[in-house]
Every structure is written in structure tokens, then in C-alpha cells.
Symmetry: D3
Subunit: 79 residues, 6 copies
């Protein structure tokens, strides 16, 4: 009876989207549940998956809010 918690930033995976779509969530749920089935033989119905979308402001990386960290990395890559 695994519990899988997936934390991702709340943003779109393509231009014009600003969040994870319901189809993408369903694909994540299916995918990680099948990993537990295939690797540990856990029946699908015993696995709970919880997806937590985190606002970009609330996710830090490199000591900065994510948006700023990405800008910094992009700037470094260019130079």
C-alpha cells in the first residue's frame, strides 16, 4: 500500500498553459502506480498518489525563488 507524493511547480508544460492539465495528472498517476506494480508487485488499488502543485514563488532553488534562479542560469549559459 504505497503512497506516492509528487510535488511539481504549478506551471504549464507548453506555451499558453499555466498549470498541469488533468490529462497530465492522470498520466502521472497511471505511470507511478504502474512503477510500484511492476517493481514491487503492489496492486494498483493499494496505491495512493497525491499531486501537489507548488506556486513558483513558493519553490526555491539555488537560494532563490525558482523564476529568478532560472533567469540567473539562463544568463550564465549565454555569457
Amino acid at each position: 500500500m504505497p503512497i506516492v507524493t509528487v510535488q511539481v511547480t504549478r506551471e504549464g508544460s507548453a506555451p499558453g498553459r499555466n498549470s498541469v492539465t488533468a490529462e497530465e495528472k492522470a498520466a502521472i498517476i497511471k505511470g507511478v502506480s504502474e512503477v510500484l506494480l511492476n517493481v514491487l508487485n503492489k496492486p494498483l488499488e493499494s496505491t495512493y498518489v497525491v499531486i501537489e502543485e507548488v506556486d513558483l514563488d513558493n519553490w526555491g532553488w539555488g537560494g532563490l525563488p525558482t523564476a529568478q534562479y532560472r533567469q540567473q542560469r539562463a544568463a550564465e549559459t549565454k555569457s
Copy 2:
């Protein structure tokens, strides 16, 4: 100093409601805090309770988003 985290789907417990009510949240907080008091003798004021409401789309069960899994189970029960 226990920390109790309660994750539930964001939905009503009765027709016409679409979320957990403030009264229900207060009852959950009281109930689980008293369990820790009664079983482990933890003073109420040392227990933190955090309730996390999770959108139905973000909760997976049986490899599916919860709403679809419930439909599938209901269909199986009927047949």
C-alpha cells in the same frame, strides 16, 4: 510535541457541500489531538495538526484519478 498531518480530498461530506466545513475541520483537530493525549499523554498544546485538502484530480487511486476510480468501482459492483 506531535505533528499530525491529515490529507483528505477536497469534497463535501453531504450533498450540496463541496469542501470540508470549518466545523468538521475543528472536529478533526480536536479528535486527533485527543488521541495523542489519551494514548501517549501528549499535552494538547504541544500538538500541531495540519489539514491538507487535495483536489480530486490530484488524488490517484487504482492507477486513476479518484473520480474515475470510483466510477469504475461502482460499475463493477453493479455488474
Copy 3:
């Protein structure tokens, strides 16, 4: 299908014990599961409970490891 996570310090509830007993764990599981049943009408079999025991060194309170914080509070109470 709630998930309840209970974090407590790894210590005994009575002299001569140094951890939570199996009976206490069972009582916590029973107690919190019944809270969800009574308040939100969640069937017992849909609730997962995970108990996490945390070493005293790994739990901080008042800016200090818990054992030191308790000593400090006990000293303050006496004086």
C-alpha cells in the same frame, strides 16, 4: 481516502520504555481512523495511517534540540 501522518519523538511514554509500544501504535491508528470515520464518514478501510518516530536529536523546538529545550523550560519553571 484520507492519509494521516503522525510524527512523534522516539521515546517511551513511561519510565523504562524508550520508544512507542506496538500497543500504543495500534491505539493511535485506531483512534485517528475513527476520527475520520466519525467526522467525515470515511470508511476505515480507505484510511492509511503512517507513524513516523523521530529521534530526539532530530526534533527541534525553541531553536534547540528537544532535550535541551525541555531542560531550559524546566529550569525556567523552577526559578
Copy 4:
């Protein structure tokens, strides 16, 4: 590669605010990431920080929702 999760109540730190500001979030991210750098020598870019803001109704303390517990404590202090 530490992960630091910071859970706080969703409320302002000064009159007229009702949530944590973007500047405060950035300061939390910077501060806790630097703690991990200074104490454990973890590079900033390997630390993830996730800030979770929790509604006051969803945070329990002393067996009560936080707002009620604060009122009770304030009343006790006065008397």
C-alpha cells in the same frame, strides 16, 4: 541535496497583509538554503525549498483551530 519544507499559516506578518509576501518568501528561501550551506557544506544549487502556506482553519493547536487557540491564550493571559 537537501529538501527543506517550510509550513506556515497563511497570514500577514504586519497589519494590512493577509499572506506571506514574495519578498518574505525569497528571504526564507535564501536563509534556510544558507543554513544548509554553512552547516553541512551543501551547495546552494543542490537545495530545494518548498513553502506551504496553510489556512488558519486548517492548522490546529491545543486541540483547536489556531484562531480559537490564540483567543483562548490571550484570554488566559489577561485574566
Copy 5:
């Protein structure tokens, strides 16, 4: 930069094992990281996976410690 937390009971997936093997852990890490890559286009190097093994006594289901709940379900199925 997703974080995936996988909580499973600490037990073997085959007779004679009493925990998840290093190979199984590696397969879980690979599998769930690839789900995030395939569904949300998250680079593998930006995904952290944390596996938490939970003692059977510390995992509750059906209001009981897991081992007891499984016995109860097995008994019900037979009768």
C-alpha cells in the same frame, strides 16, 4: 524540478527478503523519474526521489496495524 516521495512498507517482495532491495529502489527511482520526464518534460537531473520505508507496525489500514488488517482480510476472503 519535481520531488517524488515514495512511502512503502519495509518488507520484502519475495519470500526470504525482509526489505526492499537496492535494485528495486534503483528501479523505482528510474521509473518515477522517467514518468516526470515523459509526461511533464522534466529533465531527469531536476527530479529528486525520496523512498521512505515504513515498518509494518507503523502503517495503519482499516483502523488496524497492517499485519492485522491483512490477516482480517484473508480470514474474510476464506469464509
Copy 6:
């Protein structure tokens, strides 16, 4: 009343150590509690800190267990 959870790999910060020391844990607890005090004005005594040490096998990065991912990165850097 913040809760700060710090997850780190269980390994030493210097040769000859294989875990985080008690002094380092105390410094982490002090440091992150002071961040919450300084940034959000949260009293030290209202902050709980929980440190979770995660075995290297149980932490994945880049789709691999951490030890393997580090070897791969080191090899890439050399070449």
C-alpha cells in the same frame, strides 16, 4: 507556528564521518528557527524542526541512486 522539515542524505560532512553530527543538527535547528524569527517574526518556541536523514540508496537524482549519479557526474566532468 511554523514546521520546518529538513531532509538530507545520511552521510558525513567530512572524511571519517558517516552521518550528520549532533552539533550539526543543533546548528540546523538554530539556523532555520532564526530565519523564521527574523523574516516572519515567529517566536522560536512556536517553531518545530524535524530533520529526516535519508539513506543514500533511498535518495534518487538524475534517475539514479545518488551515489551512482555522483559517479556519473564526476566521470563527465573529468572527460
